[in-house]
Symmetry: C2
Subunit: 100 residues, 2 copies
DNA sequence: TCCATAGTTCGATATAATTCGAACAATAGC
DNA sequence: GCTATTGTTCGAATTATATCGAACTATGGA
């Protein structure tokens, strides 16, 4: 399967990041990735249909919040924590500190 | 003119705050309020039609980000900086630290 | 090769948000 | 009371987003 386009970290827009994280499903995905480090898409489905979850991953990926790599038939996702801290210091920690 | 409903600070939802701030016009309003402390709606119009600006103020108000009080025919807006810091510590500073 | 697994993409529907003019409301001043 | 100023609300058009089934792609293993 083909590679994904991930934006360069300095192309990442604050507005897109905030928008992506304003959705409860996407925020839950991000919280879980923060806890677990990495996870496949399937591990983050939580009962939602695959196609919906795939959409949300795309939004997170294109906003610059997650990085997805291929591993066999799976995709492994992780937060771009360090890079995001460079351009938006304190933002992700402040969001993740809020109790779910 | 009647008073506005402002949510209690502990009713404020993270998702609503992030959504409200994901819009460029609303973020610009918030940045200007952070610089200037308070401002009337007219001072924040920046060439947009009144009705559009009024809509954005409402979104910000209902998200819990700004407080609006009446002063004659004007409304004076200010950020709920201290209260927001109680429930989402570091969030607003992190956002405002990003260069416009 | 055949089949299962993991995700993506397409397409259609439904819901929500943005935009802005026009009409309205409230206050201040003359 | 009349008028100007400030902002809200309504209504309608446009645009964007979410949702999810169905078809598809790619990989791995028997």
């Amino acid at each position: 399967m083909r590679e994904y386009r991930h934006p360069q970290i300095n192309e990442v827009q604050l507005g897109s990041v905030l928008y992506a994280l304003s959705d409860p499903i996407r925020l839950a995905i991000v919280r879980q990735l923060a806890r677990e480090g990495e996870a496949t898409c399937a591990a983050l489905e939580n009962g939602h249909p695959k196609s919906s979850v795939s959409h949300h991953f795309r939004v997170l990926r294109e906003a610059g919040i997650i990085k997805t790599r291929n591993d066999g038939t799976s995709r492994i996702n992780e937060l771009r924590t360090t890079e995001l801290a460079e351009v938006f210091p304190g933002l992700l920690p402040a969001i993740l500190a809020v109790p779910a």
